[in-house]
């Protein structure tokens, strides 16, 4: 039950090592942690959990209405969606069931809506409904002119992706899993992993390496798929924009590709994006002038008033796209190895179902799971605006005045929350990590007021 970020790795043979502490790897670790007899390690190349694709996505809890019917992805998204909604409620992960509208801006898009509604039915989603322009504008009065109609998917929600990943990892660690950060897997042979921090031995291996899953797969002799990173740039608008939009406004997919979406976030901001650019470099997580200009151009059409508000943050993430329409999850029993590849933006939604599926595959590979216990629930600090934050809770402040002492004013983060995050099961190793746990420095001033004070707390001087 340890989290390490440096030093020698334990000289033990694990039952399962999971490579990659993204949302999928953490969910798998959590699922396996239910089996008390298993010795599990989660190894991660970066200095925090959820640092790759998992941190920079559109933060949507999908229904799976538009998955390819009959695919593994469709099943896992459908099942994962239900499980994650329950888990979020139990664990304090902010979720807002705002619903989505696929807005048709031309005849061609309008013509696609009935097909999408039929697809939703095939995916066992029965609440989709086509809206005419009047009802659409009644629901979204700030929508730009010219929309012809929409498909309403009431079950789509927004969620905090950071808290989800952290909750999984926290629960796994509290139930005995080891997490080794800053630990890049360089070579993999039968049961032996050579990492940047030394050697790890394991009886079973799970590859949840996201953007690097194909590389690890090749080292183990498989050429199932190639990851072609697809960059998505996103703009986060000021909280003043939140009242402009009520639903997730999704583009209608057409032959010309997917457009961009406008969505509220659980933190009370509004997202605009993503772009979709194929890039060669698996570290190309920078935004570009052209990308930002394109997003603003698209956003102006969807929600004109949005562009009058300030941008609070700009970020870019890479999605682990492959040439396949489905996840690439494969068991290799002869190697006691399971690949969890090609997990696209639906991976957050599907994570718990993927974890169960992978656990089953590990059993097929000869892993003796033993008894499964119920996990002790976790209660994560609330980062969402739809639920009371510590500064809004007089009983909490009365018990501990540190929750009434605000440090980050834009996001109203108290000193108590920063203290708690620094002392948590999986503490942050950077100011960015602290931001994802508390929102400190994540607001409209980006540290003008609080940056130095937060850094002081992080570095342990005050």
């Amino acid at each position: 039950m340890t989290v390490t970020a440096h030093g020698a790795l334990p000289d033990v043979t694990y039952d399962v090592v999971i490579v990659g502490a993204g949302v999928v790897g953490c969910a798998i670790a959590r699922e396996l942690a239910r089996h008390r007899r298993l010795r599990i390690a989660l190894v991660e190349a970066q200095d925090d959990v959820g640092q790759g694709t998992s941190k920079a996505n559109t933060a949507i809890l999908h229904t799976g209405f538009d998955a390819v019917p009959g695919s593994l992805e469709a099943r896992l998204v459908r099942e994962g969606s239900r499980r994650l909604a329950l888990y979020a409620a139990e664990s304090g992960i902010p979720v807002e069931p705002v619903g989505a509208l696929l807005v048709a801006w031309d005849r061609e898009q309008l013509a696609v809506l009935p097909e999408l509604a039929a697809k939703a039915e095939k995916n066992d989603y029965r609440q989709a409904r086509i809206l005419g322009p009047d009802e659409l504008y009644a629901r979204e009065p700030h929508l730009g002119p010219g929309a012809l109609g929409a498909l309403h998917i009431p079950g789509e929600s927004i969620i905090c992706p950071w808290t989800t990943t952290l909750a999984y990892a926290t629960q796994a660690v509290r139930h005995g899993a080891d997490v080794h950060l800053d630990c890049r897997v360089e070579r993999a042979d039968d049961g032996v992993l050579r990492t940047s921090r030394g050697t790890l031995r394991t009886r079973h291996l799970v590859n949840a390496a996201g953007l690097y899953a194909d590389e690890l797969d090749r080292r183990l002799g498989h050429r199932d798929f190639t990851v072609t990173p697809r960059r998505g740039q996103l703009l986060v608008f000021d909280k003043f924009a939140r009242e402009l939009v009520r639903h997730i406004l999704l583009p209608v997919p057409t032959a010309l590709g997917k457009g961009v979406l406008v969505a509220p976030t659980v933190y009370g901001n509004v997202l605009l994006g993503p772009t979709a650019e194929e890039v060669d470099d698996r570290t190309a997580t920078g935004s570009t002038e052209e990308g930002l200009a394109l997003l603003r151009d698209r956003g102006r059409r969807i929600l004109p008033a949005l562009l009058d508000e300030e941008v609070t943050a700009v970020y870019a993430g890479l999605r682990a796209a492959t040439a396949y329409e489905d996840y690439r999850i494969r068991a290799h029993p002869d190697q006691a190895y399971v690949t969890v590849g090609g997990i696209r933006s639906t991976g957050l939604t599907a994570s718990m179902a993927i974890a169960s599926h992978v656990t089953g595959l590990l059993a097929d590979c000869g892993l003796d799971l033993g008894e499964a216990d119920d996990l002790e629930p976790v209660r994560m600090p609330n980062l969402g605006e739809a639920f009371p934050r510590p500064y809004q809770r007089p009983e909490l402040i009365a018990a501990d005045p540190e929750y009434g002492t605000l440090v980050c004013h834009c996001e109203r983060v108290s000193r108590g929350e920063i203290r708690d995050a620094l002392a948590s099961t999986i503490p942050p190793h950077s100011l960015e990590g602290l931001r994802r746990r508390t929102r400190a420095r994540g607001g409209r001033c980006q540290g003008f007021y609080c940056g130095a004070a937060v850094r002081e707390l992080f570095e342990g001087r005050s």
Binding site: G286, G404, E432, C445, Q446, F448
Partner: protein, 399 residues
Amino acid sequence: MSRRHVDVLVVGAGPAGLALAARLAAWGVNRVEVLEREQEAGGVPRHCRRREFDGPGFARRYAEAAVRAGAIVRTGVTALGWCEPPALDTVGPAGRETITATAVVLATGARERPRSARLVAGTRPAGVFTTGELQQAVHLYGQYIGHRAVVVGAEAVSYATVGTLLGAGVDVVAMVTDLARHQGDRLKAVNSRLGQRIPLLSGTTVTELRGRGRLTGVALRHRDGRTTTLACDTVVFTGDFVPDHELARRGGLALDTGTRGPAVDGAFRTSREGVFAVGNVLHAVESAAAVAREGVRAARHVRDHLAGASWPPAVPLLVAPPLRWIAPNRLAPATTYDPFVLRTAEFLARPVLTVTQDGRVLHRRRLLTTAVPNRALSLDGRWVGSVDPAGGPVRVTAR
């Protein structure tokens, strides 16, 4: 939640709020309370330290003067939002409290727009600052900054930033401004360029930040379309101030489209009766001394309101490009106006300022100097008596 009444509730213990509170308390106004969300009163001067300006000393003097005069200054207390009737919902270590007031004064100040709001593309490495964060890191906490810095901006605050960086042992590689010339003090600009050998790259835009983990450079585009990269581990975005208008906006106050702060008349009255605004939330930004004087001037009008003075309607005062904004920006009858303060977006050599209402010229004046962006420009208020209170908006143009 507990509820309490005060006569005057000031939000923000910077120079403007403190000076106003001190004056009102000195006049014997019964309960004057200043809320400050930081742990110490004083506002931005707390972390301004220059050879010619002892900010921390200035902040301390104003805070002490307010307390000595009888005002109550409460630090670590945040005004979260409004409730009816004019009242603010607050939180601090002692919990939540609603404070009602006969007069509320917003003195919430201004801040610089950070990199994201300026839409500068690239990665998100460490080493990216605004002046506000940099000054606190250096002067309040003595934190490590970096080795080689690029300063974005070439106005007064940018030159102050250069001083802070050099004092912290950081080399300044260059100053970058997208305008054609610097907008600071001429002596300082000459000293920086020739004395300290810091190149000023004018007509140049920062297009991208580079580096993973830590900043490694900034990409630039010059006026002629050339692009270059400057190696650095630190970049400071200076200037480009915006008012901290959250409370004003959440309170439904009319905002001025130019300043983006609450619109006020010559008596610092906003569009909402009983709510005043003063200091850099009205005009981002003027010096600490200037906003402190403004606080003193505003005190009289707050006192008049406590004594039952009426809250008159006002005519909007607007500007046309290349002027960016003017403050005050509401014209109320029977109100005296100190000189208005304006900003221009372009350099204008000896411009003619013209004030009109419904096509009628109220005032025309040629400035004898060059109007410089990011620097105060003033217009005297003797013409306000000829404004028709029933007429349309009054406009100021520059040519």
